[in-house]
């Protein structure tokens, strides 16, 4: 199974080279020690309302020292080999659906990882695995860096596990193409335990069902088991912009074309707030070339598919495909939403599209612009002008439209203005993957997981500083693990051991570059929880007034 073999060979980041050999062990046998450790850390982090994260002691007896110690180093080849075989057995168990969760060997601890220096284990054959699916890194990531507690609160909407969490579908995507769908967990600990066990390279979130998704086959009719709620989601993907971006294509992105996402977020975010009154909207980088929106307001979560579809279409302006010709045909006068969007997008169109992308410099590409313009005489004149002066920039060509139209004189200015507005919308208005919005049952990649291809973490995007977000600058799993390394080996470990107080103040992630993102997530979740509490309080008061239900 790729699980064990797909390890470390490739190392872009020097740090990983350093980690590699020890990481191999970590994969196989620890985790549980780590988990306890993590729990302690987590529990300490935030004293607000403690309950959900308490490790059941029975599951994992902590066998190793909880804190990082640079000394624990015993590493040799035989051990490695032995562990590899062990790994295979575990994987088989896993695929038979057996619960092999309680490993009983703990020969090392996660701290091992910082010891090794630069040696590449001879026993790691196989293809180059991307960083994002390296089980060693994933283990560290899930144990030390994933914000479990806030994650739980975000999905659960309450300190105690509610059906919102219990009946929620998760699906785990394992390295090697295995997908476990319809997983559900009664508590956060069960989820964590399962994630530590399988080390999925990707976790997706589905809807909340009327009953436990694991029992879905036991229901006689479909009404007993059906999806009832899910965050309202939007998915924007740069591949949908391939016909308007010139800098990159397919899965590649750069900061230039990222601006398409930036403007999309601006347009959608303000519309969701102003038009629909939603407040709890989280934007998440999808790890490679897009962004997701999670609208978490109670009302949005409870929308049925029909209304989701209506919302999705409200935001569908660019229609059809390449063969459609003119893809934006909106009614005049412009709907207030479109008028506002146009205001936002105009600026971006001039700088981020015309200047940065220069989409019409080549003649055949400029042809496309001509097709979008109304007057045949105008088209003719422009064509001649551009043929005569090849290589004019898109900005110049955009300016030419008005000047040439003026010189012709007979062009209907209103039609021309509207056509130009349509062009701006076609090049800049958000392009959504509509199915994600329309269907409650559609799975969407969870925030804070690692993109298996790029190794980047799916971090929330701060809408107050959209321009400051650079997708290429997002923390990667390799980088983060490195930071922890540097931290623990550079005296941090010692400090930890000695100075308990200092230590209690911070989990590992607090000392890494993922901190601002988790802080942001925490703020978001707190805002959501506050409103949920208010909702529960109001509801209870009403019930008390009405029916005399005692609480």
């Amino acid at each position: 199974m790729p699980h064990s073999s797909s390890t470390p060979e490739q190392q872009e980041a020097p740090a990983r080279t350093q980690l590699t050999p020890t990481m191999e062990d970590t994969t196989l046998n620890l985790g549980n020690g780590g988990l306890t450790d993590e729990d302690l850390l987590m529990a300490d982090v935030d004293e607000v309302e403690s309950p959900p994260v308490v490790t059941p002691a029975a599951v994992e007896p902590p066998s190793s020292a909880p804190a990082a110690k640079p000394e624990s180093t015993e590493e040799d080849a035989p051990v490695e080999i032995k562990q590899e075989t062990k790994a295979e057995i575990r994987l088989e168990d896993l695929f038979e659906g057996m619960d092999s969760g309680s490993d009983d060997e703990f020969s090392g601890s996660k701290t091992d990882r910082d010891v090794a220096t630069g040696q590449v284990p001879p026993s790691s054959p196989g293809p180059v695995a991307p960083a994002g699916s390296n089980p060693d890194l994933l283990r560290v990531f899930y144990q030390l860096l994933f914000p479990w507690r806030y994650y739980f609160q975000w999905l659960n909407h309450s300190p105690q596990p509610t059906p919102d969490f219990k009946f929620r579908e998760f699906s785990l995507w394992l390295t090697g193409g295995v997908v476990f769908r319809f997983q559900s967990y009664a508590t956060l600990d069960l989820l964590r335990k399962d994630v530590f066990k399988h080390l999925p390279e990707r976790i997706e979130i589905g809807p909340i069902y009327t009953a436990n998704p694991r029992d879905r086959k036991t229901f006689r009719n479909s009404s007993a088991f059906r999806p009832i709620a899910k965050e309202l989601c939007f998915d924007i993907d740069l591949t949908d912009y391939d016909d308007v971006r010139t800098c990159c294509d397919k899965a590649n992105i750069c900061i230039k074309c990222w601006q398409f996402i930036t403007m999309a977020i601006k347009v959608l975010d303000v519309a969701l707030r102003e038009d629909f009154g939603y407040e709890h909207i989280m934007w998440v980088y999808s790890g490679r070339r897009g962004a997701h929106a999670w609208v978490c307001d109670r009302q949005a979560r409870n929308l049925d598919d029909h209304k989701r579809k209506a919302l999705g279409n409200y935001f569908s302006v660019v229609k059809g495909g390449e063969k459609t010709g003119k893809r934006v045909n909106v009614r005049r006068p412009l709907h207030p939403h479109l008028a506002r969007s146009l205001d936002i997008l105009k600026e971006h169109f001039l700088t981020d599209v015309l200047e940065a992308q220069d989409p019409w410099r080549e003649e055949d590409r400029a042809e496309k612009l001509l097709q979008l313009l109304p007057d045949i005489k105008l088209r003719q004149a422009l064509k001649e002008k551009w043929e005569f002066n090849p290589g004019r920039s898109s900005t110049a060509k955009w300016g030419d439209i008005d000047s040439v139209a003026k010189s012709i004189g007979s062009v209907n200015t209103k039609d021309l203005l509207e056509a130009k507005q349509d062009v701006v919308l076609e090049y800049t208005y958000p392009r959504l993957d509509i199915l994600v919005t329309e269907q409650k049952t559609h799975l969407l990649k969870s925030p804070f997981v690692v993109h298996p291809g790029t190794g980047r973490v799916c971090v929330p995007i701060d809408t107050n500083d959209l321009e400051g977000f650079d997708p290429l600058d997002v923390p990667t799993i390799g980088g983060l693990v490195n930071e922890i390394d540097a931290d623990t080996s550079g005296g941090g470990g010692m400090k930890k051991e000695g100075d308990g107080d200092e230590d209690k103040k911070g989990a590992e992630w607090e000392r890494t570059s993922i901190k601002p993102y988790i802080d942001q997530f925490r703020g978001f979740v707190h805002g959501l929880l506050r409103e949920e509490r208010e909702f529960v309080r109001v509801k209870r008061e009403r019930e008390e007034e009405g029916g005399g239900l005692d609480f």
Partner: protein, 504 residues
């Protein structure tokens, strides 16, 4: 809403309550339109009971026929006007008609009588809701603006009226609502009555950005309120019909009403289901798997296209199989023969594949397997034109649907020429029908062309009744009529009128 006069409640000793006469407030009909929330309580004669129901049924049947024939709303309204006047007049309050109360009472009572008749099955309920809402929409549109607004206010739909001040503030945004393009003759933003509702109640308006929406509230002009009222009307009627269905068994003991009701619902048989029974089977025709190729000359274009596709590719996609199987079932191909037909048609796969992937579906369609209700009702009903036209438009690689609607003009012409229709006039006619979205007309035009000789003869000899020459709205009717016409001499005995009709 409470029907029992509050003051008189509890007058009766609760032990004697069941024997006491119920006392009701007399019904008032302040508005022309009615949401039919309160059932009637006064006594009427049995004759009235039957006559009123039949009158209303006639109207509903006619409305449905209009929709089958793809009439535009304006055409439908024009068509219905004289009929409504005759059978179910309903004048506005301002007309001060002397019969106002009687008219409204009849409208009210007949609606509830038909509810009893048409709540028994899902199919009937759905159809009843559809035609009733068509009738309501027709009246709603024709209603006086002022009275309509007054009526809407009584519905308690919890719409918040938009104040003058807010109108002024949002004038620019509201002007962008659909239809406010500053044309003359239309009310301005200030004149229009606006109401604020949760956007979730008008998703259709939101979907197409027809109205302005702010912080979750949609601003709906009175013109667009129709869509909200209709949604509400439908929802309430559907719910009420289900309740009626549950209460229906209590009527069983009543031997005066049950026969009338049964008779009514029999006359309201859906075109969808009319061909399930043996009435459509043509005696003397050899309907068997090996004869299908031969019979396919009588098929309408939709089925002929499926047949040709099947012969060409040796396979059909799911909806194609469904549509075609049901049609074959409708022309009288029995299950065994149908299985033989599909097995031999799918000649590129093994028996095992066929049995695994397809056999069950065919049997399910015939009601041979499946849930209790499926088996008891004999499987599915053959699709009507209505259904083929409106449901499941064909996608990539699919051959089902109606060629007149789902083909583009060029392909349609090629298809028609492919089956030997080359008459320029006919083709031009079909093209025009298609542009006007009168797909039935196109189909009937082709039918008339293909059978022109036989039709002339039939008319001369008056073999067929007028009803049998009405517009075809069901593929199986097309087949039947085509077969009968082509074999006019050979078949002595003919079946009765199999056309879709709802009559009193």
């Amino acid at each position: 809403m409470n029907r029992i006069d509050a003051k008189r409640r509890n007058v009766v000793d609760h032990r004697k309550k069941q024997f006491a006469e119920a006392t009701y407030q007399p019904q008032q009909y302040p508005h022309r339109l009615n949401f039919y929330t309160t059932p009637p309580t006064a006594d009427i004669t049995l004759e009235q009971f039957e006559q009123w129901a039949i009158d209303r049924l006639r109207i509903l049947a006619e409305l449905e026929a209009c929709s089958f024939r793809n009439k535009t709303p304006a055409e439908t309204a024009a068509h219905m006007e004289p009929l409504l006047k005759k059978y179910l007049p309903l004048d506005s309050t301002s007309s001060n008609h002397s019969q106002l109360f009687t008219q409204r009472q009849k409208d009210h009572y007949s609606h509830f009588i038909l509810r009893l008749a048409f709540s028994s099955t899902e199919d009937l309920r759905r159809r009843f809701t559809r035609v009733e809402s068509m009738l309501f929409r027709l009246r709603f549109q024709g209603d006086d603006m002022k009275e309509r607004n007054a009526f809407v206010r009584t519905l308690n739909l919890d719409w918040e009226p938009v104040s003058e001040e807010e109108k002024r503030e949002l004038a620019a945004e509201l002007a962008a609502t659909v239809g406010f393009a500053g044309k003359r003759g239309q009310p301005t933003v200030q004149e229009e009555e606006w109401s604020k509702v949760d956007w979730e109640r008008v998703p259709d308006l939101i979907e197409h950005r027809k109205v302005f929406v702010k912080r979750g509230k949609a601003y709906v002009p009175s013109r667009e309120q129709q869509s909200m009222v209709m949604t509400e009307f439908n929802a309430r009627l559907e719910k009420a019909l289900e309740l009626t269905a549950r209460a229906l068994p209590r009527l069983d003991e009543d031997d005066r009403l049950t026969p009338i009701l049964n008779h009514l619902s029999k006359n309201f048989i859906a075109p969808d289901s009319v061909y399930t029974n043996s009435s459509s089977v043509i005696e003397g025709a050899e309907i068997s798997a090996r004869n299908i190729d031969n019979l396919s000359q009588h098929f309408p274009m939709c089925m002929a296209h499926l047949h040709r596709t099947l012969r060409r590719d040796s396979k059909l996609r799911h909806f194609g199989r469904l549509q075609y199987t049901l049609f074959l079932k409708g022309i009288g191909l029995n299950l065994e023969e149908c299985l033989v037909f599909w097995r031999s048609s799918f000649n590129k796969m093994t028996d095992d594949e066929f049995n695994k992937g397809y056999r069950y579906n065919v049997r399910h369609v015939y009601g041979d397997v499946g849930g209790d209700s499926n088996r008891r009702s004999g499987g599915y009903s053959p699709y009507s034109c209505q259904k083929i036209l409106t449901e499941h438009a064909p996608g990539n690689g699919e051959a089902h649907g109606c060629p007149y609607r789902h083909f583009d003009e060029q392909n349609l012409m090629a298809l028609l020429e492919g089956v030997g229709i080359s008459d320029k006039v006919v083709l031009q006619g079909v093209r025009e029908d298609k542009q006007k979205q009168k797909f039935h007309m196109a189909c009937n035009r082709v039918f008339e062309y293909v059978h022109k000789n036989e039709l002339r003869r039939a008319k001369d000899e008056s073999v067929m009744t007028a009803a049998q020459l009405e517009t075809i709205v069901h593929p199986n009717e097309y087949f039947k009529r085509s077969y009968l016409l082509k074999n006019m001499g050979k078949i002595a005995k003919k079946e009765g009128d199999g056309d879709v009709k709802m009559e009193g």
